[in-house]
Amino acid sequence: MAEAWIRGKSAPLEAAIVEAANIVARSRHPVIAGLGTDVAGARAAVKFARHVGGVVDHMHSDALLRDLDVMREASMMVTTPTEAHVRADFLLLVGPGLIEAWPALPERLFGKRRIIWLCPGAAAVSAGEYKNVAVLGDNPADLPAIVALLRARCAGRPVASAPVALATIDAVAAELKRARFGVAIWSAAELDRLTIEMLCGLVNDLNEGTRFSGLPLASADNAPAVQQVAGWMTGFPLRTGFGRGVPEHDPWRFEASRLIDSGEADCAVWISAYGARRPTWKRDLPLVVLTGNPSTLRTDVTITVGRPGLDHDAVEYLATTGTLAAVSARHPEAAASVASVLGKIITKLPAAPPC
């Protein structure tokens, strides 16, 4: 059974839906944020935002847009986790946070292949827990320089100084060029944009002589799937607003926390169906929360929803395949889904203004 609260007091689901609709209907600039949800929930959220002239943003947009920025400002070669699994003879792991981003990484990709990890920052790796992983660089702060040095040395250019021995850099550069199908793996949550761009430039350069590709690890809370849904339904990535009747995308203008803390937005719908992630904005404003795990967050309306793929069937991004796939509920519950709750709230709202 779905549980709901209105200003901290337990309430019937129907009443919570009506109150949520009232709150959104009063708003002049609502933000639909968090967006930790399945594909059906993301579709409903985009439809909802279009209906109310709101903004859609995901809790992990920073990392999503960092990778996307490199793609759309520079260029990128990528491969799939499955192709890396069957073909890669060499992995270049770049920076910390990789196993946190994809816990199955060692099991899926660490088997019988040569692996070099630049600045892993993780004790387990540094201590040599993974036998075929060689480490270069112990301080993540050196990573941008190391990636740049590798790119320079792969291109046969002289370099002035290095945080690690040049001979080591040259040895790794030689390995990169020797790989038959190398794959560079990173997590955008841990790297800055220019380091990712330098790395993708290195990958592109390596393709002059051999085959090399990139594998950016996905952000959590189904972020890649939600990004895809926004892409096909609006024509734009996340951080897209419908305030002027047509979808407009701007990574600065439509950042949920900025909109709220600056006072531009006057209402938020926060969606975190996978767990109890909390918003990062600081200002209080009328707040409707759809969550898989209610917390002590102060809200006007809280509605519990099922966890996608656990409590109800869902379509989600699978890190293992790099695709959208249907996932059957592991413990089917009579839980409401984000899509069904948003769908009900919409029916209680005034008709959308003609665009």
């Binding site: 059906a40 793609m71 260029s75 499955t82 699994h85 051999t210 590709s213 096909w232 024509g235 796939a325």
Partner: protein, 545 residues
């Protein structure tokens, strides 16, 4: 509910009809004139032309690659902001699903085939298609660079094994037909080959591109699929590649074969730049090869984005991206490349490409075997269709265009010597009757009794492009969806799929294969009705008897 479209010129080549007359619609079907009784609603369409809804056999409108194109090209000249000098107009290939359905419908299109769905990514393609309103859709499943098929060929397992595998993949991915894209080329690229032709062999497998195409052509034939194997040849875009296309046409032999966007293979090596039109030669070969059908992939000038599963070609083209950014993906089988591109009227090569497309349209005699496409968005966005139709129907308009294009480029083509003009009946064949036949859609592409009431009504005028850009009326499954070029109603369409017989043994074999190769169950590829999130999302097109 009985609706009468009264007094229009009915152009219905599938039923050899071209006469003033009425069309009656009951519910979603075209019916006979009622013997008596009442007509609920009448539309006076005198002085207008009425045709079946148009069918596009090859337009990249959905899937993860298209959405990648959307994501990497956010440049926007919004209707609100007007022109910002730092930005160019938003490439049409990046439209969202809603705009895609509405824009197609406004032109009188009611069925569109998304021709490149990789089996592992089929679910996303179908989710996107379900969000494209009004029009019906279908997909082609891409095979020919997949390890399983290449292994079947290497081990010479024979036709039955290939047929079972093709049936399983098609049925899993819910495609209407099968396409091969640069057969073996993507697999070869993973092994660091940078050029790949019809008789080259894929390293490790020792299987030639030709063998892959022939095997799939036979499998499609034996499965009795309605649509022949849809082929994207090797060497797309390269000078001298007409030889590849000619060899592929010859390889079709007596079985049906559809060659996609043939314009991109109509290039010789003559002339001052070593790049010339071979359109006339290619058209002649198509005219002679009766089992072959082609679509053109016409180029039009302007900004677009090329989106292709021919990863080898896109990799080689990446440094010519306009603007300078691209994404190349080494996929599980074919992969993909997103390369923005602007076709320029001052560019020698682009002008030759534009002329080659028109030469193919005009020099292939049989409008039942040449199909109207731009390979959207690769040659041009589908919004360019009305302008292309006008060029085909009007030699003076072509002359006017040519007078503004560089002579040096036109001189390596034969376009200026061609006088043919398409008639409106030719257009109805090419965009309605013939595609329905090519795809095996018996109740579409015509206006006979029993046909689905997908109907487009146009107001003829001197400006033919204007006529095709904004249909006067469009009915989808009997519902009025467009009036005067404006969408009035956006119902949900369906996706057409084949339902080939799947031998039981193949399912177990594929489970074992996926376990062994990927340490995964193939379940992740499943596309189920319930997953789509729309009621009754699929319609089955029966296989041939």
């Amino acid at each position: 509910m009985l609706t009468r479209l009264a007094g229009g010129r009915v152009i219905d080549p599938a039923n050899s009809r071209d006469a003033i007359g009425d069309i009656f619609i009951r519910d979603d079907r075209i019916v006979d004139a009622p013997a008596g009784g009442t007509v609920d609603e009448t539309y006076d369409i005198s002085n207008k032309i009425v045709m079946a809804g148009a069918i596009d056999v090859h337009s990249h409108i959905a899937g993860s690659n298209e959405t990648m194109g959307r994501l990497v090209l956010p440049e926007l000249r919004s209707p609100v902001d007007g022109f910002h000098p730092g930005h160019f107009a938003r490439p049409a290939g990046t439209w969202n699903t809603f705009e895609t359905g509405c824009t197609y419908a406004a032109m009188g299109f009611t069925t569109v085939v998304e021709p490149a769905v990789l089996p592992h990514q089929a679910l996303q393609a179908h989710l996107e298609l379900a969000d494209i309103p009004i029009i019906d859709k279908a997909t082609l499943t891409v095979l020919g660079n997949d390890d399983f098929l290449l292994n079947l060929l290497r081990r010479r397992e024979g036709r039955a094994a290939i047929r079972d595998y093709a049936a399983w993949t098609l049925s899993t991915s819910r495609g209407l037909g099968i396409k091969v894209i640069n057969a073996g080329g993507a697999a070869a690229f993973k092994d660091n080959l940078r050029v790949f032709s019809l008789d080259d062999e894929v390293p490790e497998y020792g299987v030639s591109s030709r063998a892959i195409v022939k095997a799939l052509q036979e499998a499609v034939h034996e499965l009795r699929l309605t649509h022949p194997l849809h082929v994207h040849c090797n060497n797309l875009g390269l000078a001298g590649n007409v030889e590849t296309a000619l060899a592929t046409i010859e390889a079709a032999e007596h079985l049906p074969l559809h060659l996609a966007h043939l314009q991109f293979y109509g290039y010789g090596k003559e002339g001052p730049r070593g790049f010339s039109s071979a359109g006339a030669r290619l058209a002649e070969a198509v005219n002679a090869a009766k089992s072959v059908t082609i679509d053109v992939g016409q180029v039009m000038f302007g900004q677009t984005v090329t989106i292709s599963c021919d990863v080898l070609r896109q990799f080689n083209a990446r440094n010519r991206a306009r603007p300078k950014k691209w994404v190349i993906c080494d996929g599980d089988s074919n992969g993909a490349g997103i390369v923005p591109y602007e076709y320029n009227t001052a560019d020698f090569f682009n002008v030759v490409q534009w002329a080659v497309g028109l030469e193919l349209f005009l020099l292939i005699n049989d409008p039942w075997r040449v199909f109207f496409t731009t390979d959207h968005p690769n040659g041009a966005p589908f919004t360019a269709y009305p302008d292309i139709l006008a060029l085909l129907m009007d030699r003076d308009l072509r002359a006017k265009w040519m007078s503004r294009l560089p002579k040096e480029a036109l001189e390596v083509t034969t376009l200026s010597s061609i006088a043919r003009e398409y008639s409106i009946v030719d257009i109805a064949i090419m965009t309605r009757a013939a595609p329905a036949k090519l795809l095996g859609l018996k109740d579409r592409g015509h206006l006979g009794v029993g046909a689905l009431a997908d109907i487009a009504v146009y107001s003829p005028g001197n400006d033919k492009a204007a006529m095709f850009r904004e249909a006067a009326l469009v009915f989808k499954s009997g519902q009025l969806v467009v009036r005067d070029g404006t969408v009035r109603h956006a119902p949900i369409g369906r996706t057409l799929r084949a339902d080939p017989v799947c031998e039981n043994g193949i399912k177990a074999r594929m489970r074992n294969y996926y376990q062994e190769r990927y340490a995964l169950s193939p379940e992740f590829m499943t596309v189920a009705d319930a997953t789509i999130g729309k009621p009754d999302p699929f319609e089955i097109v029966p296989c041939l008897n």
